[in-house]
Amino acid sequence: MKLILEKRSEQSRAMALLSPLLAIAITVVIGGIIFASLGLDPFKALHVYFVEPVTSLWSIEELIVKAAPLVLIGAGLAICYSANVWNIGAEGQLTIGALFGSAIPVYFTTWQSPLTLVLMLVLGGVGGALFAAIPAALKNRFGANEILTSLMLVYVAQLLLDWLVRGPWRDPKGYNFPQSVPFEGWQLLPLLGEGRVHIGAIFAVIAVIALAIMMGRSLRGFEIRVIGNSPRAGAFAGFDQKRVVWFSFLLSGALAGLAGICEVAGPSGELQPNISPGYGFTAIIVAFLGRLNPIGVLFAGILLAISYLGGEAAQVELGISDKTAQVFQGMLLFFILACDTLILYRVKIVSGRPATAKV
């Protein structure tokens, strides 16, 4: 008896939905086994990890703070990847967005008006979009591989940020510590409620809804999907592949840039050398876990945020290393990719001699 994979005649719709759930289930089971092998009660550990982050108001608020940038970036990337355009550099677009937006409080330290914030946010989006325009232009003009160009530009962005906060943009009163002036008043995002939740969370929800409508109901969404599946068919329909490349890069770049300025003008409150714990990269997992569907991205973003917070809670309550959060995220992506096999293949149990052995 043995297991074989048999190619399906067409993609399984059920599996497309079940695959992420299956991946989550396998991650939880393997996670439990890992906890048990560390000598911990696996049920308590999993409770701390996955349930506790949603049991108190404070932790839910923190969850939203953490999920907002992931959803905002992930939603843009989902559109990009649907168009078969591979923007891997959201982390860089986030960084440049944060820089563009922060230029206002850095250069106009005392300017306080609602317009300050609006301009910061707009500049954040513009900065991210401009930075994403580089790989888009290189792809359209020279056929350069956007995976490489967008990824490498991340380092350019981070080094630029590094230079600015250590050099020209450093707070003159900050004892040489690499940070900008602290933002104040209208240079900060308004908070929702008592905790740290800021209006960036609302932007994330708006982005998800708008993009879901665009993908489901508009010609632009149809164009993106057609070009993504078959550029040749798209060309016959009069769709322009280059235009789609431009659109998806500018859109995902703008959303990443917006997420960047929201982080800086939100929880951070100042520009620092590290403004994101890799949100731009984690958002890639979010986009895939969400099935490249904006609504799916919303749930996936929350799940990934749980894995961050759960990892921290596990450190405090169970005394285990901070590496567990990374292990969980890694397992999750691995199992999603593995389970996606089931969309195109079905598992068959064959008894006796395997079919392939026939001559």
Partner: protein, 356 residues
């Protein structure tokens, strides 16, 4: 990689061995570390302080920690998490946790906070630091005696006063032996980045340095010194195991006495927000046993140590000049703590420009 796995295993075993007891009436003491406790440097030594609290005060306390907390938006949540879980005393052990600590402290007026190396205090936020520059002066002297090339390499993290005063103390110590001693500084812009630290050490050795010292938290620079056959100094903890042939001595941070004392004060209800800056005399700074070095150099180092301890010698005593030749301290004058705590210039003799 093997070593990394080994370290992780040791750290994990330590954590598991301690366990986390539960009792409501115990004082919960929380710690926020910037690095992994397995760094065998800064965070490791703070964790040794935590373990000392457990050992000394036994079942009156319970301790928790979060490691590898980045000095950004995540820090505030990590600190607040400890406060919410009932910690009565929280040590935040890196400069970059200053503003998050103050923000959380405002929301939890009944919790006592202790922030290491910062300069902002409030009613329930105390600050503490150690006079590491005293140790730097001693190793500077030893470096100049051991060095054949007359050049030392210094791997520095961030150009904050804490680090700048260390560089200055080192060169001042070295100049007492060799007035033309050269010091090359490389900034790695990180507290803990073994890869970058190792690269910096290689560059410095390539530029003729035969002494490597560092104000970063990993053992990498010392290990490179060992591989390349030059000498170096440990940082924060005794790193002799990692470089048995290279380490001359190490400036050891001993937080245990302070941590135990402050925890007792909270238990007694006598805790007050204040600034504590202890050095060799307070036992916060210790010199690891000398190795790989001639007896007369050890003797001289111990004499200097005794003088600093007794107060007869302050590493920053005039006449001193800044790098650009302008006067910093007149002859016979001793620097005051305020100037030290905001130091943002090199003294004469340091190579290169301080990033401003």
């Amino acid at each position: 990689m093997k070593r990394l796995i080994g370290l992780t295993a040791v750290a994990l075993a330590m954590v598991l061995a301690i366990g986390v007891p539960h009792a409501a009436e115990k004082l919960k003491v929380g710690f926020i570390y910037v690095g992994p406790i397995g760094d065998h440097g800064w965070s490791y030594q703070h964790d040794q302080g935590r373990l000392a609290i457990e050992k000394e005060l036994g079942d009156k306390v319970e301790t928790v920690y979060v490691e590898k907390v980045s000095e950004g938006p995540d820090a505030e949540r990590a600190i607040e998490r400890l406060a919410r879980q009932g910690a009565g005393l929280i040590f935040t052990t890196s400069f970059g946790f200053m503003n998050p600590t103050l923000k959380v402290a405002e929301r939890f007026p009944n919790v006592k906070f202790e922030h290491a190396t910062g300069f902002k205090r409030s009613k329930n936020v105390a600050t503490y630091n150690a006079r590491f520059y005293e140790g730097r002066y001693i190793i500077g002297q030893a470096a100049a005696k051991v060095s054949k090339s007359g050049v030392a390499g210094y791997i520095a993290s961030f150009p904050i006063p804490e680090v700048v005063m260390g560089i200055n103390a080192f060169i001042l110590g070295a100049q007492t032996v060799n007035p033309d001693f050269k010091l090359k500084v490389v900034w790695v812009n990180s507290w803990f980045d073994p890869g970058k630290e190792a690269d910096a050490a290689k560059v410095l050795i390539g530029q003729g340095a035969d002494i490597i010292t560092q104000h970063t938290d990993s053992t990498a620079p010392l290990q490179i010194a060992g591989e390349k056959g030059v000498h170096g100094f440990g940082q924060a903890s005794d790193m002799i195991k990692f470089a048995p042939k290279a380490q001359l001595t190490s400036i050891v941070d001993n937080w245990a006495p302070y941590y135990v004392a402050r925890t007792k004060e909270v238990l007694n209800g006598t805790w007050k927000s204040e600034d504590t800056w202890g050095g060799l005399s307070a036992g916060t700074v210790e010199m690891a046993p000398y190795a790989n070095v001639a007896d007369d150099i050890v003797k001289a180092a111990k004499e200097t140590e005794a003088k600093i301890r007794s107060g007869a010698l302050h590493p920053f005593t005039g006449p001193l000049q800044k790098q650009d030749g302008t006067e910093f301290l007149a002859a016979g004058k001793v620097v005051d703590d305020g100037t030290l705590a905001s130091m943002n210039f090199y003294v004469k003799g340091v190579d290169g420009k301080l990033p401003q």
